[in-house]
Symmetry: C2
Subunit: 283 residues, 2 copies
């Protein structure tokens, strides 16, 4: 291809010097919310003690409102919206960007929020296996009208390194467990409070109990395709999500704004610690 337009980033190989802009990237952190990924970029800027004012950080994708992207030294922070299709578009264009920029040995992290399964709210889950609605570690991808199946195995070494990091920090209760990825927030996750609901409280609890028995500790909406695409492309990856509630106890997210903000910072603090260790800033 003469030119590659990364349409949803509003970047292109012709109009942007991607090796110069991104060649030194070693860590890519992605998450659903644009505000949260901006806050993470500002946080890691302070943590890495980089020069410049973190408040003046610029959205590299400002030409579009599909995603936001911030670069802080060797760290790229990108929002991906909600759900498998939204993150998959971002990942296609990110992986092409890393290729065009000739990046090497990059580690990817998804930092997210989730519903906990049998966990206290605020617990951080490092994903062992990303599983589908039947608790299988696989992702079904449609290619030209045919369904193909991809493995969703994540990097065990990075997961264990993250768990070690959590033990070195205060107030970041962390477990390793399976993460169930669904394609909706209500019926697919067994919520009783959606616009549509065709099942009872007892049936919901039974489904969550089966999930728990299959090792599922949290439920979110992006992990399977994130794991599958990183794996196929040979990229090391980890998923770190905080549980905002315990789904055995309810469906609605009723914690106060301040409590939720503090919970959402936990994956950020954990990944920041990992990055600082890798960069030799913490011995």
């Amino acid at each position: 291809m003469e030119e590659d337009i990364l349409y949803h980033f509003s970047l292109s190989t012709k109009t942007h010097n991607l090796p110069e802009m991104f060649g030194d990237i070693k860590f890519v952190c992605v998450g659903g919310s644009a505000n949260r990924m901006k806050a993470f970029a500002q946080f890691i800027h302070q943590e890495l003690e980089l020069p410049g004012n973190p408040e003046e950080i610029i959205d590299i994708c400002e030409g579009t409102d599909r995603y936001s992207m911030y670069k802080v030294g060797p760290v790229l922070s990108i929002s991906h919206g909600m759900g498998v299709p939204s993150i998959s578009i971002m990942l296609h264009e990110l992986i092409k960007l890393l290729h065009h920029a000739q990046c090497r040995d990059v580690v990817l992290f998804r930092l997210g929020t989730s519903g906990g399964v049998g966990l206290a709210p605020g617990t951080v889950v490092i994903t062992d296996k990303a599983v589908d609605y039947s608790f299988r570690p696989q992702f079904e991808q449609v290619v030209l009208g045919k369904v193909i199946t991809r493995s969703t195995e994540l990097d065990e070494g990075v997961a264990n390194e993250l768990l070690q990091c959590s033990s070195e920090l205060q107030n970041i209760p962390t477990v390793i467990g399976n993460t169930m990825c669904t394609h909706d927030f209500y019926e697919g996750q067994g919520r009783l409070d959606g616009a549509l609901c065709s099942f009872s409280h007892a049936e919901k609890v039974e489904y969550l109990r089966k999930a728990y028995e299959a090792g599922v500790r949290n439920i979110e909406m992006e992990s399977t395709v994130f794991a599958a695409m990183c794996r196929v492309c040979g990229l090391k990856a980890a998923v770190i999500c905080v549980a905002l509630l315990n789904r055995f106890e309810g469906d609605q997210i009723t914690s106060s704004h301040d409590v939720l903000v503090e919970y959402q910072q936990r994956p950020q603090v954990l990944v920041s610690h990992f990055i600082k260790k890798r960069l030799g800033q913490i011995v």
Copy 2:
């Protein structure tokens, strides 16, 4: 329920008077991009000749960055992000909002962008049937680990009324056709320019040819769940998407920014004309 928290809208039945805020809504227009749905709200404000400054329009969901929402007289304009999961969360909370606000006889429109199948760029497609990757007019929803199938039939009367509107306007080439809804932008739509691609140009063209024969005129990523949820809830709905390119001729969106902006205004002009006719502002 004592309180219903519409979490992704940052609204609640306890903290907001939903009947007072939304009780007069008659038209709900949704689209992927937050900027585009803000521009639509400002456009319809001018078209309906409402008092006040359209530039000062306020995002009702400003407490969150998941979605944006603007109210302009009887019209609600909401962004839904990209893909079925993202729009499905919005629709659950929107349908609950319309219920809490006691709205009656509401018509929903999805105004979007799409890839055309055998159409000139800039053509507007009013969806006849929303179909899946096998060209079936159905949506598969997982409920507690089981797949159920829902019909994706849209309102024929509204579609025909929209086609009539297009004939009354200049420069809005419009067809009625089937719309294929996929769960990704690259492999699922037969694009050769993603990070992953396992098929040839000939295989891509063959798939698009089959789609064309099944009546598919454009491809996007939200129509099936939009049609299915509106139908189950008894809401009249239509999907109006402009084709940004002809997929038989390429995969990348290479038109200039200005041309793309003008294309994206076409569904807005069409739906605005429909609303003005329904309100008796055009006889």
